[in-house]
Amino acid sequence: VSRPGLVQVPRGVQCFVGDEARRRRAIEARVLEVFRGWDYEEIIPPLYDYAEVFSDPALQTSTVSFLGRDGELLALRSDFTSLLAKIAAGRLARREPPIRLYYSGEVLRDEPLQPGRQSELYQMGLEHLGGGSRAADAELLAVAAECLERVGVADWVLAVGHVGVFGGLVGRCDLDGAGRTALRDRVDSRDPAGVRELLDGTETAAPVAAALESLTGLAGGVDTLPEALESVACSPEARAAVVELRAVVAAAAEAGLAERLVVDLSEVRGFGYYTGLVLRAYAPGLGFDLGRGGRYDGLLARFGRPLPAVGLMFGLDRLALVLERQGRVPEPDPAGPARVPARSLGAGLREARERRARGERVRFGDGGAA
């Protein structure tokens, strides 16, 4: 007697078959073709590695770890960027930078139960390690844009920011560690009232408080950057970050992406390893980002090979879902297979082999005897 629940899919993982699976592979193929077109090289990383590789604070609670046979603490991969940084510093240590790598596969994050959130995430992404920063950042925007175009998403935008803007300002706030975390959360939620509440009654200089509040309201196209530059004038670090972002955004705009870029300086959450440019892709029809990325100049040093780096990834679930919501699902393949009966087993099989040799799709033996 089998337990009825045994045939359910457990929480956090999914199963795709037929058209669903075909659609996902078609999306994946298009994205990877773009990656290869910009001369990124495929890497097939291991399924698990030392748990220490995945020690970013944003990953710690969701990484699934286990003890290896020799007592080492191991973990199922929960983040490709951390894993590839380690590989670039180890296996590829003698490879001259810049190194361009892409991957496609699953990560596992054990997150609390929430509808629509999976633990198994299929990600397609790339990392650009050790290149000139501005050129690499600009290239990243171009690759992201081409992926979204090629996949066929409508009306997408790339929201770009720079974590140094918030970083420069928060450094000038009269707040302890917990206060800074709370401030980060309020800026990320674009909540000006919350920012005011946290800074009221502290010794934070008024222009710094005003600048932080203005980050929550700043939104719009590339034309909002001059305004941003003015509003963060009180912090040289924040100003330098806006100048850096402006250079990259200007390049992308000149290359034809002006209408697709929106400035988002409140995007300050997520992985702690980001140090510069951050981006998220959005499109009408899906309430979550389709992909994201950013610059992480400090991560490789953790593995003993200090190199600047930038990367991005798209979630396959999200791309498949937004295409469905936008009504852009491709038609399933109309041509059926050639049916080859197996009434005379040997002769039937020979016919099937001959048809296969001609490249035909065959379905052998169904509905017949033998």
């Binding site: 509808p115 939620s189 000006p192 009232a193 939104a219 719009g220 959005y282 009408p284 899906l286 980002d289």
Partner: protein
């Protein structure tokens, strides 16, 4: 339809209606049963307050109106760009009048609440071991009947507490109605979202 808004039929409905009218933004007449109502360019969904945050987080609604108390509890990943000013209340810790409550570091107690996440976090930050009992309503009864030592609940005028022999010990947060916006809609539907924000910002108290 350019935008979908999620609203609650509860405490904040009247304030929302008044604010939207002042801002010249169409607002449906609350004619009772219909849960989805279109009004000009806008589509309104009427849902339970904690679900407003869920609908907006998932992008089923682009925007919503919800109390900050609910947002604190839901922990939703949404933008909160506008304090609408109305629906003011406090989230407070209350006990039976005159009862002893050990809130020192290392203390231990049992708290009844509709806000388990907010409560657990507040006690954790103070090093107090609190066992949180989640209730669906009539939270004031819990200390009276001995289910808990104290409660964490919304206090508007304080009358309900008083009538049940309770008093506020500490304020945990002040809450007002907030306009929340889905993160993707904010960027991918920038123009209609910005128009709505602008109209409401002009009249928000």
């Amino acid at each position: 339809v350019s935008l979908t808004l999620a609203l609650t039929k509860g405490r904040l409905l009247e304030g929302s209606a008044a604010l939207f009218r002042r801002a010249g933004v169409p607002f449906p007449n609350g004619d009772g049963r219909r849960l989805v109502v279109s009004e000009g360019e806008l589509r309104f969904l009427f849902v339970k307050d904690i679900d407003v945050a869920t609908y907006v987080e998932h992008g089923v609604a682009d925007c919503g109106v919800v109390g900050r108390d609910v947002l604190l509890e839901a922990g939703s990943d949404v933008y909160e760009p506008l304090d609408l000013g109305f629906g003011r209340c406090r989230l407070a810790l209350a006990r039976l009048r005159g009862a002893r409550l050990d809130l020192s570091r290392g203390g231990s107690l049992r708290v009844a609440t509709k806000y388990p996440r907010v409560s657990a976090r507040w006690f954790r930050e103070r090093g107090v071991s609190a066992e949180v009992v989640r209730l669906g309503g009539s939270v004031e009864l819990a200390p009276v009947l001995g289910l808990a030592d104290c409660i964490v609940d919304v206090v508007e005028t304080g009358r309900t507490l008083e009538e049940n022999g309770l008093e506020v010990v500490e304020e945990i947060a002040v809450s007002t109605a907030r306009l929340i916006v889905n993160r993707a809609s904010f960027h991918a539907r920038r123009q209609p979202v910005a128009r709505l924000l602008e109209a409401l910002r002009g009249v928000a108290g």
